[in-house]
Symmetry: C2
Subunit: 219 residues, 2 copies
Amino acid sequence: MDANTNDASRRRGEPRDGVPGRQMITRKALEIVSEHGHEALTISGLARALGVTPAAVHNHASSKQELLQWVQEEIMAGVDASAFCELPLDEALRRWARSYRDVFVHHAPLIPVIAVLPVGGSPRTLRMYESVARGFAAAGWPDEEIVDAIVALESFIFGSALDATAPLDIFDPGPHAASIPTFGGALRARRHPGRQAADAAFQQGLEAMIAGLLAAPAG
Amino acid sequence: MDANTNDASRRRGEPRDGVPGRQMITRKALEIVSEHGHEALTISGLARALGVTPAAVHNHASSKQELLQWVQEEIMAGVDASAFCELPLDEALRRWARSYRDVFVHHAPLIPVIAVLPVGGSPRTLRMYESVARGFAAAGWPDEEIVDAIVALESFIFGSALDATAPLDIFDPGPHAASIPTFGGALRARRHPGRQAADAAFQQGLEAMIAGLLAAPAG
């Protein structure tokens, strides 16, 4: 039983013979992690939430690590790396980075998990890296510079997704306003209010990093 | 009773009259978060770890949020923002960003917490922002661009600190090696092995972002 079955009842999320398939397990795992954080994900808790025995989950997923790789595979479907064979590198990087950040803004509790999760269990993540690497290679980048550039961009993307979930009053200095005249003035001068502030910071950083990378691949 | 007392026995971490002070509470809280993640930090669990009643902790810290702000204040002491009044902006940003990342590489479980924690309870964090903002202002940056640039750099720093804690085999493609010829070649061509790989990616990204920011403040 796998996630690609065409059986209509299973696609609606109903187990056949009371046995959940990979897709149902993955979605329930994602639900648990999104609502309660990744520490809350256990095989026994997942089985309880699915209304089955732990053995029924164990039949498919042998470990929490495997469950997380399924979750990774599921959510990476939202990342768009299709532009690297069509557009110039800077344009393709913009489109990829924006979609990648958007996905993790909506799954922020997964950031500290996915950022350090081995990718061998997620063919979709590997295909994404292959597309991005081809974009750099086609733009003339030497092999030895490509992975560092991708990792640097990803670090910025994950950090920016985290920042987008910060409370709007994160910089409120409370009783210390008088001690930060310059930073306080800069805060008041920001052009974008509320949630747009995080988007503006991401945009500025993304443009800076792409410009800096494409101006001078590190040597 | 506060953390700045000169009482020698208290500086060695021993409570007076069995009542822990802010410093002892903060250090134990940091220990718990570092070992078990921030979800494991509760006032009652902290009291148990300190061998006191929950009320003895409550006398000082009214909430988990307050405890986390004490932890933030404690670890931000390791971030060096002293160079902004001495060195050119690019040099000062390098020194600040490296020390900031180093601190969070050693406290990775705190990244998702501190990245979204209001800073009003941490005068040290506010002083850091003030120093960085003054560096940008002194270099001629318009007020309205400064916060976005700082947030973008911080996002990269937090994401890079997270990346530095990833397992060394994170990119191992497992059974899928044949599907990633370009990315696989780039992985084999990386110049820096093991732990140094994360440092190299951070370096490349930091140089790119600083160059990009200083070449063209967003308009």
